[in-house]
Each structure stands twice: as C-alpha cells, then as structure tokens.
C-alpha cells in the first residue's frame, strides 16, 4: 500500500509538472523542435530544470542501499550502445516530431483532453506490444 501511494504521489507531481511546463500541449513541443521556424526554447528549460534536480537528488540517493519502501535501488545497468538503441531512438524521434507527443504528456493528457490523446495512446500501446511480440518471436527463433 505504501509503494502504491508513493507511486501515485510521484506520478501526480510529474503530471502537474508537465502541465505547469505546458508540455501537455503538443504544439508547444513542436515549436521547440521547429528550430528554423518560430522557435520556442521552453522545452530546453523544462529538461534543464528536471535534469538539474534529478542530478543532485540521485547523487544523494546513490549512497543508499535501498529505497524507503523496497529492498533494492534499481539503477539501470545497461551500458551498451547498439543498433537497437539508435534505431529505437530514431523511430521514437520520428513519431515525436510528427505529433509532438511522447509517452508522459500523452498519458498525462488523458484526463484533461481524452478525445485528443486517447487514440494516440492506443496506437502507442499497440506499437509497444507489437515490438515486444516481434522481439520475443525473434529470440525464440534464434534459440531453436
């Protein structure tokens, strides 16, 4: 129950942060990506502020062996830079540039403007499931 409440609180603050930063508006995101048009640098400050706080916060947490409500800190351990990382980032960037929505803002908008974002989120879930399924099939084929 405590883990559930902690997850809710973190998501709640994340959602308000995206809203205050106006990142829930895809037009605002596209204006950042439009370097050669009427450029709006706001997104850089959103990321800058978030990275700065996370950098110092994570540095304090690095010393801890366990979080308050679980038994281990799950720091990412992957370090390999391969075709999958690069190709995945490129596909993601293409979809992001087409609409101006990435997973956080798309889901955060579901309560305030579901008619706009629900179809995008459904397509995103389909893309995730399809990719997972194809990858699993390939792994199984390789194992035979």
């Amino acid at each position: 129950m405590k883990k559930f409440l902690a997850g809710f609180a973190a998501g709640f603050i994340f959602g308000i942060g995206l809203t205050v930063a106006q990142m829930t508006n895809p037009a605002k995101v596209l204006a950042f990506l439009d370097l050669f048009g009427a450029w709006d640098p706001s997104l850089a400050l959103v990321m800058g502020g978030a990275v700065m706080v996370t950098f110092y916060g994570f540095r304090l947490l690095r010393a801890r062996a366990a979080p308050i409500y679980d038994t281990a800190m799950r720091w990412p351990s992957l370090t390999v830079i391969d075709a999958r990382l690069i190709g995945g980032a490129a596909l993601f960037g293409l979809g992001w540039g087409l609409i101006g929505l990435c997973p956080g803002p798309a889901i955060a908008s579901l309560g305030i403007a579901p008619q706009r974002t629900a179809l995008f989120v459904l397509a995103m879930l389909a893309g995730m499931s399809l990719t997972r399924w194809l990858r699993q099939r390939r792994a199984e084929a390789a194992a035979v």
């Binding site: 809203t19 205050v20 009427a38 990412p76 830079i81 995945g88 596909l91 960037g93 979809g95 955060a108």
Partner: protein, 141 residues
C-alpha cells in the same frame, strides 16, 4: 521567440525532477514513462502496483491542477487521424526498441550521466527536429 515561457518551463521541470527523485527514494525505480507502461503491458516477475499507481497519478495530477484553478494549456493536435496513429505506433515501437523516452533517457539518464541516454537523447531530438523541418518547411511551403 514570442511564445517562450521560461518561468513556467523551469518550474515545471523542477517538479518533474522532484518526482523522479521521490520515486527513486521511495520505491527505488527510474521514472521512465515508457518503461513503466511497458512493465504493465507485459507483466513480468517484477510487476508491481506502483506502476499502475504512478500512471493514475500522472492522469489525476493535471485534472486536480485544473480543479484547483491552475492554468491548463490546450492540447493542440493538428495532424490528421492516419498521421496521429502512425505517430503513436512509432513512439510505442521506438521506446520499446530504444529502452526509453524523454523521461527515462532525457531526464533520468542524462542526470545519471549515462552515455547510452546521451546518445538516445541526441538522436531522438535530432530526428524530431528534422521531421518538423521537413513537415513545416519542405512539404509545408
């Protein structure tokens, strides 16, 4: 740059940073939205209610903000339906293949000084910029 909103951008960014620190400090997890969704879609051994709770909070936050009288910007989408669906598919496929999105790689990964996340962020930013350039200034004109 008449639409530049530095104050609200920085404030929102700091709130997002506080959220990632809170999740790591309390539950020991990276606040990467695509990773959290992915873990729910394909429940593995580490499935946990915190993922669902995070997403419920993510949706409830903006609604509560609006109810409290806070400014909620419009959600302006101009793309036609087929493009909207293609965009969603690409974002879903790309974040699973590349193990993360703007939050996991772009915020948490950069803050951890992860070279993997730096490469990912530079690529999705560059491809996003080129995509918008082509749509607005090559096809659009």
């Amino acid at each position: 740059m008449e639409n530049f909103t530095p104050g609200s951008a920085l404030t929102g960014g700091v709130l997002i940073g506080l959220s990632t620190v809170l999740l790591m400090g309390l539950v020991g997890r990276i606040a990467g939205i695509s990773g959290i969704v992915n873990g729910l879609l394909w429940p593995a051994a580490d499935w946990a209610g915190w993922r669902l709770a995070f997403l419920i909070g993510l949706i409830a936050g903006p609604v509560a903000w609006r109810t409290a009288g806070g400014f909620v910007p419009p959600v302006e989408i101009t793309a036609q339906l087929p493009v909207l669906l293609a965009g969603g598919l690409l974002v879903g496929a790309g974040t699973v293949l590349g193990s993360g999105c703007t939050s996991g790689h772009g915020v948490c990964g950069l803050a951890r000084l992860s070279p993997r996340s730096l490469v990912s962020t530079l690529i999705f930013m560059a491809v996003g910029i080129v995509t918008v350039f082509v749509i607005r200034h090559v096809i659009g004109d």
